[in-house]
């Protein structure tokens, strides 16, 4: 199957405003149906929308952070269509003069193999209002809940720059990470504050020609995993279909298909009305918005460090590899904040990175904890790392102490005192243990002398015996030194 997969995403995110885009009812999730409405969001005759300043500024902030070109003049349009979730029969949206165009999203290589294809270009970011929700009711009816109608919604459309289902998932995760850093949306896919549709087709080379399959838009993608699964399914389906009927993009219409999570397949949906059918026209009830340089400058200042910048800082300031920097950043702001503070407090950046990745995150995952409420804070972890660095503890002792700190919530100091964890660096003690180990294992010494076994394995065994004899408390570096000295003495004799 030698073909190229071409994917573009259309993402909608609800902005974190208190009130709706054009009226004052709230924006909470999960309230009883139709308890969060007002005359404007119900689309009652005679009502007039008034733009929410916060919504517009959050949208601007997003576009600035995504390096989009901000329009100095933007207006609103009515997108007309009949559907029961849309009480006015039109959605207030943006058509020919959106507030921003273009933009880019970084898409770094991720642990699960996605990403790494370079920046994903954006076509546009625009602002519109959310629609209501349809629930299947009994007796052959659908129930309409308008709590969601009028919540400010940002539409972000990528160019078809993505080349694999894993890449698409990674791009969506990076977008979520970025929007959460910006604080413009909470991006909860399960609550619908982040929604994603995906466009996909294939470019298939054959006999020196390239065949493009008809584009399919996949809807009903309810999780990051389903984005990846649905695209993988759809790529395969399109290839098999092309083998079967040979239809290309010029010979068939764009199709909308819905992802069925349980069956693991995409199914055809109603055909989409074309752009012309929406009969867009300027919204007379809202005046245009003019954005000047001063406003953009003020928004720029409100954009803090973004995930990409943070990765680069972790690399340059802390000397981490690109891989390590990304592992710490891709898991969310809390994890990166935690590492950042621990690293600053110890100055041992690489050690801090290892401890956070290998020990802290492992426990967080195993016990299903949140890093923000992890019982060992970044300062306490830094203190533990410093003790290891100073030679008070070896790494294994450090792990044991950390485990007890997590269980008890106590400081490293208290755990070390109570548990008698002190690394033995005293040469005389180590020397005695080395001699005892050698005396107790004449077979090992013979093996070394005779060169029968692998010498490294024998040395490792002896080192283990010494550690055991000291209750795991000996300084492993010193044990190595003393053991080596003793062995070369014996082998030379």
């Amino acid at each position: 199957m030698d073909y190229t997969i071409v994917i573009g995403l259309e993402v909608h995110v609800q902005l974190t405003t208190e009130s709706k885009m054009f009226s004052s009812s709230g924006t909470k999730f999960g309230l009883p149906p139709n308890t969060q409405t007002d005359p404007v969001s119900l689309g009652l005759p005679g009502t007039l929308p008034v733009m929410n300043r916060k919504a517009f500024e959050l949208a601007l902030k997003t576009a600035v952070a995504l390096r989009a070109e901000i329009s100095t003049f933007t207006k609103w349009d009515r997108k007309n269509y009949y559907y029961p979730d849309l009480p006015k029969n039109y959605q207030i949206s943006q058509y020919d003069l959106p507030f921003s165009r273009g933009g880019r999203l970084e898409n770094p290589a991720r642990r699960d193999g996605g990403g790494g294809s370079g920046d994903v270009r954006l076509i546009r970011v625009h602002l519109e209002e959310d629609t209501g929700k349809l629930i299947h009711a009994s007796g052959g009816d659908s129930e309409v809940d308008l709590n969601r109608a009028g919540i400010p919604l940002l539409e972000i459309v990528t160019e078809p720059d993505l080349r694999s289902p894993a890449d698409a998932k990674a791009c969506l995760e990076e977008l979520r990470l970025t929007l959460r850093y910006l604080g413009v949306s909470d991006c909860e896919m399960q609550e619908g504050s982040l929604r994603c549709d995906a466009n996909i087709n294939l470019h298939i080379p054959k006999d020196g020609k390239k065949y493009a399959t008809p584009i399919v838009e996949i809807k009903n993608l309810n999780s990051f995993r389903s984005v990846e699964r649905a695209l993988a399914y759809e790529a395969d389906r399109q290839y098999r279909k092309w083998l079967d009927d040979g239809l290309t993009i010029d010979q068939a219409h764009k199709e909308t298909r819905g992802w069925d999570e349980d069956l693991g397949i995409t199914k055809p949906q109603r055909t989409k009305e074309t752009a012309a059918d929406y009969r867009y026209f300027p919204e007379p009830d809202l005046v245009p918005v003019v954005v000047d340089e001063a406003w953009i400058a003020r928004i720029k200042q409100s954009v803090g460090e973004l995930p990409g910048e943070r990765r680069r800082r972790f690399e340059t300031e802390y000397g981490l590899s690109a891989y390590d920097a990304n592992v710490l950043v891709e898991q969310g702001q809390d994890v990166a904040d935690y590492f950042d503070e621990a690293a600053k407090k110890t100055g041992e950046y690489k050690l801090a990175s290892n401890w956070v990745q290998q020990d802290v995150l492992r426990v967080v995952k195993e016990r299903k904890l949140e890093i923000a409420t992890f019982p060992v804070g970044p300062a306490a972890l830094a203190d533990l790392i410093n003790r290891i660095k100073r030679g008070e503890l070896n790494t294994n002792q450090g792990r044991e102490v950390l485990a007890k700190m997590i269980d008890s919530g106590e400081s490293a100091e208290a755990v070390i005192e109570a548990g008698g964890y002190r690394m033995v660096s005293d040469v005389a003690t180590i020397q005695a243990a080395v001699e005892a180990a050698i005396a107790a294992n004449p077979k090992a010494i013979e093996d070394l002398k005779g060169g029968k076994k692998k010498p490294d394995a024998v040395r490792g065994f002896l080192r283990g015996q010494v550690m055991k004899a000291t209750g795991g408390k000996a300084d492993p570096a010193k044990v190595g030194e003393v053991l080596e000295a003793k062995l070369s003495e014996i082998l030379a004799s």
């Binding site: 009130s19 139709n34 007002d38 929410n52 349809l134 299947h136 300027p282 005046v287 245009p288 003019v290």
Partner: protein, 95 residues
């Protein structure tokens, strides 16, 4: 500019209007009169005139992001042709 009968039928479909053949004849005639009247504007030379985005010369009207009271649910549903205790009811939508 002249609208065809097919175009009027299509506009009717988009507006969810059920038009009889007689309706189509009538509205094709009436709509064409309106379109022809508006087409008078085409006689103007608008070279160099910026397209108008809005009829009122006002910009940047905003409200603060402050939550006000929601309508009581009974009031919100009051005018619904069909409803249950919590929502508007419409013919089943299958997607």
């Amino acid at each position: 500019m002249s609208l065809t009968r097919e175009e009027v039928a299509r506009v009717g479909m988009l507006a969810r209007l059920r038009l009889s053949p007689g309706d189509l004849d009538m509205f094709t005639g009436q709509l064409n009169q309106i379109v022809d009247f508006v087409a008078t504007l085409g006689e103007l030379d608008v070279t160099g005139v910026e397209p108008l985005a809005h009829g009122v010369d006002v910009r940047n009207v905003f409200r603060d992001d402050v939550v006000g009271p929601s309508l009581p649910r009974e009031a919100a549903l009051a005018n619904a042709p069909k409803k249950n205790f919590e929502g508007f009811l419409v013919p089943a939508v299958l997607d």
